[in-house]
Symmetry: D2
Amino acid sequence: MLVVLKQGATQAEIDAVCDRIRELGFEPHPMPGSMRVAIGITGNQGPLDPALFARYPQVAEAVPVSKAWKLVSREVKSEDTVIELAGEQGRAARVGGGSFAVLAGPCAVESREQLMAAAEAVSRAGAHVLRGGAFKPRTSPYSFQGLKGGGLELLAEARRATGLPVVTEIVDPRDLEQVERHADMLQVGARNMQNFALLEAVGSSSKPVLLKRGMSARVDDLLMAAEYICKNGNYRVALCERGIRTFETITRNTLDLGSVPTIQRLTHLPVIIDPSHGTGDHASVPALARAAVALGADGVMIEVHPNPAEALSDGPQSLTPASFEKLMPSLRAIAEVVGLSI
Amino acid sequence: MLVVLKQGATQAEIDAVCDRIRELGFEPHPMPGSMRVAIGITGNQGPLDPALFARYPQVAEAVPVSKAWKLVSREVKSEDTVIELAGEQGRAARVGGGSFAVLAGPCAVESREQLMAAAEAVSRAGAHVLRGGAFKPRTSPYSFQGLKGGGLELLAEARRATGLPVVTEIVDPRDLEQVERHADMLQVGARNMQNFALLEAVGSSSKPVLLKRGMSARVDDLLMAAEYICKNGNYRVALCERGIRTFETITRNTLDLGSVPTIQRLTHLPVIIDPSHGTGDHASVPALARAAVALGADGVMIEVHPNPAEALSDGPQSLTPASFEKLMPSLRAIAEVVGLSI
Amino acid sequence: MLVVLKQGATQAEIDAVCDRIRELGFEPHPMPGSMRVAIGITGNQGPLDPALFARYPQVAEAVPVSKAWKLVSREVKSEDTVIELAGEQGRAARVGGGSFAVLAGPCAVESREQLMAAAEAVSRAGAHVLRGGAFKPRTSPYSFQGLKGGGLELLAEARRATGLPVVTEIVDPRDLEQVERHADMLQVGARNMQNFALLEAVGSSSKPVLLKRGMSARVDDLLMAAEYICKNGNYRVALCERGIRTFETITRNTLDLGSVPTIQRLTHLPVIIDPSHGTGDHASVPALARAAVALGADGVMIEVHPNPAEALSDGPQSLTPASFEKLMPSLRAIAEVVGLSI
Amino acid sequence: MLVVLKQGATQAEIDAVCDRIRELGFEPHPMPGSMRVAIGITGNQGPLDPALFARYPQVAEAVPVSKAWKLVSREVKSEDTVIELAGEQGRAARVGGGSFAVLAGPCAVESREQLMAAAEAVSRAGAHVLRGGAFKPRTSPYSFQGLKGGGLELLAEARRATGLPVVTEIVDPRDLEQVERHADMLQVGARNMQNFALLEAVGSSSKPVLLKRGMSARVDDLLMAAEYICKNGNYRVALCERGIRTFETITRNTLDLGSVPTIQRLTHLPVIIDPSHGTGDHASVPALARAAVALGADGVMIEVHPNPAEALSDGPQSLTPASFEKLMPSLRAIAEVVGLSI
């Protein structure tokens, strides 16, 4: 259910309607737009009678939402969600609403030397956000599991050195405070897309979330996972298409670019493409990154390692600093063609 | 790496070899067999020189393990793992090693009345373990999420009433103590199969684990997830095939019975089949349950609800008590043909 | 659209209704049942007015068919289709209607010696139909493509020697006459399931058809492919589940046993299971064949080769004569439990 | 096996080596390059001894080919295959080798009026090739099956009117002569990708072939299917990625753009993208077409219908002439960025 207020409704009027919704036993979710405010309602079973809001003159209309997910839907909020990430030294990133963001850095934080080299390279080439994993969810318990707390501290150091805001993965709700302290954006990985305890935890965070699509998640499941986060009060969610699992094994995953325009029509949340995990092959990453811009996505996330041959994880899909630097101008040129700023 | 001891090695001799392994910087995992003990070694990079154990006369041989997963492998332990679950009133269940176990009960614990009706029905019909969800991971945040703590208490009550041991899902590492207190077996759901924080938590539990295959998990991934649990010290793990996600939508999932004989050749862990989630349709469950026995699986998990039409979750795939009762004799008759005890 | 005649309608009355249907511009498909005759109508767009048949007193009712496929539907013909195959020396096979058929033989006909050894072994062990490929559709143009015409003649010789009816694959509509001359049943392979020119050709044959499910075919597509055959006048079609292509690669294909009960509810056509292609591994075939019986399928197709290690195609999935012979008694014992005759 | 000749080898010398290969019992496949000629050898089992060519001084080297497919491999021919299609009135198309081709037109030829409107629209907007189906392979036997011979004649008429070369589908080897007479390029559809009788037929044609990837075909299977065509002597094959079948149903298929750079590294054949079938949704087609150019593909195939709402097949995925016209300039601008000519 969605309650749309008339243009010019005051905060007090918005609050009054929210109180009314709570009084009815439901949860209000105000969605400010540039023209007018709408309030999503969750917790109801079946449609609500618009007459319930008859005594609130600022209510323009009360309309049902047709999808199973509500708060992430364009029906509830037609304008693009824009996520602003502030770094230091005046560096900042903007994801969504016509801005194309480049998130880059190593798969895993391995050492100060490795991280600094990667961070400086991607910063110099024009990336907007530094990525790097401190907590690494690995298929095998015998693989490198990340530097954990030490990795977070190195990310903070790289942030100070380059000014770039940082996105890093969280894998356990118990780590929330620690990760929040160092990261500008919290990444939920593909394997945890339906770890609902984790979704609820990041939903209560003040930091925005980068939610990666699960390997077997339909678009509906991805939007439902985002809905868990929004329902807990955190509306700053970016989705990330990183490839689904199919019968094709020549690439690491099957990057589902074909769904992206549909996702963008269904939701106001920005969509980031990860061609590194999507293909698993550094030689394919530049072409797919260019395709992502041409497609009109809201960003790309690219793995860059100073020495891919010695990477502790995902070396084969990592660009060198030189190839990343070479890629950036073509992304900018294509962005211009399709009307994105980069 | 696997160190195989000679027949008749004493506990002191086993301990001495384990100490030696720790001294080398690795982790020992003793695997008692009916004939002799083997000790799995994890934490090593590359093969170990058998000469490292030259001064231990009880070491018969030191052999490399060819698979990426070690502790769950038949190479490390050739005999079937058998999991014994004790209930009350002399009721008990045995999973693996030629015993076919029937786990049955409602998808979710909804109320005392509903749970007791289901528990008594499946007990009467001859089920060995009562299943029921107190914490429900649901795709939508607006779906019924389970009775949580209250559900666990109802399960404990049903356990006392029927004597049946209980299996129930755990979705958050922070709930471990609470769930352990009431359950005889901890279920890790398909969506959490690669929630490594949760796998590590149940790996430190004294209760056995039922690990469901993820919707997009290859058999290798499933065995790796089980390896996480064993590596943390809990070797009592049963695997559960509950259907994978494919392009076919006429069934809820695609039940991958074809992999089961292969899984049984690769691992000593028992394999349970879940035809309820596998098909999503109560009308198909009996035929698939019979197929599971004929296949030589180690058990089935079947959803039974006193009134499927009013179930808060998964009603369409739940059997009525009457149809469950009618199914059991055919399972027993087929078990006899294939040499399983039920 | 389906026109159901009253019990006891004479052939003349049936013919009159068929003429009326043709007069209206549509095609009639009489479907005799044990109780009464129904006439499927194809070629209409949208529902027909039952009043069109008002002057035919033998018409009991005219009902719309809800599925996109018509002639294969249980709505149009509720009774099981039974396909009788006559061999020589009194040997015969019955597929469907409570009879479980065992089709066995080598993947490809390689030589007289090989085929005769296989044919005699499967005959002796109690198979009902001899399978063997003369025209082999192979992924690579450099693989053995079959003995073609010479293979058909060897099959005819094996048929005379053992009395077993023969099923063999047809890959080109231009081969129809030649294959029909030697085979009792025409197999359409998975790769040709939507080769509509071939479907139309076998639809005009007097020989029954074994239609294998395509690797990416949904059940709906399989039924639509069968509908092509029936629409051309050949109603004797058996479906064959042989595994679909999914992300799981530990087996050759993913045998979709979970769909079989649904298929049997939707269509009156018999369903055969092929565990050889379904798993690709001879060690898994016996367990899956037993599962197929327990499931209530209408038959299995099993590859048997006198010397699997030297087979020109699909050796790893072929049983030896000895293991096939050992399998048969367990199939019979399970058939008895589930009420099938074998 | 590949025999590479020295630069400057004469035709007589090439012929002599080919004769030698035939004398050894194999098939020679000369592959002219801009620098030197190589001769692929098929029909051999295992590696050939280079000494077999010792007496031919023009043989520079004899090297094994590592892939299962040979003639389509970059190992055998490193330079891009370029397919030239000549229309009338000076119109021509070039597929491959840095030229990006736009193939456009209706899914099915429905009437003279419909086809002419579409043909003129796509011609005016700058398409290079007119597409249109006369023989339509349809999942249901009750769907419109195409105008067949009449459709071919209309295509020939549209070709004369616009000058555009024509690509149209062939579904039956028996139609080869008839289709060849009217088409400049023969399309083999996804459902027939492994209809080997059809592949062999078009392999013997003098017309180039557009081979669509099957819904469950791995890249290896696609290249093997192309190998069937080349092996029969027709080396002018373009591949078409049109989406594979996965669990995701929000799009009609899952367009596998991520594999395209890999395919281009493996084979010298051009790769065309079909965003119409790939997404099934006209609203997504422009974005995916732009992505295809940015990716560096060799062309796109786009469905355009003068009145999509009334199309007899695939209306929902067809662009209007206006939206197609609007799309073309952005394709040209992106082509310029990535160094393709359009």
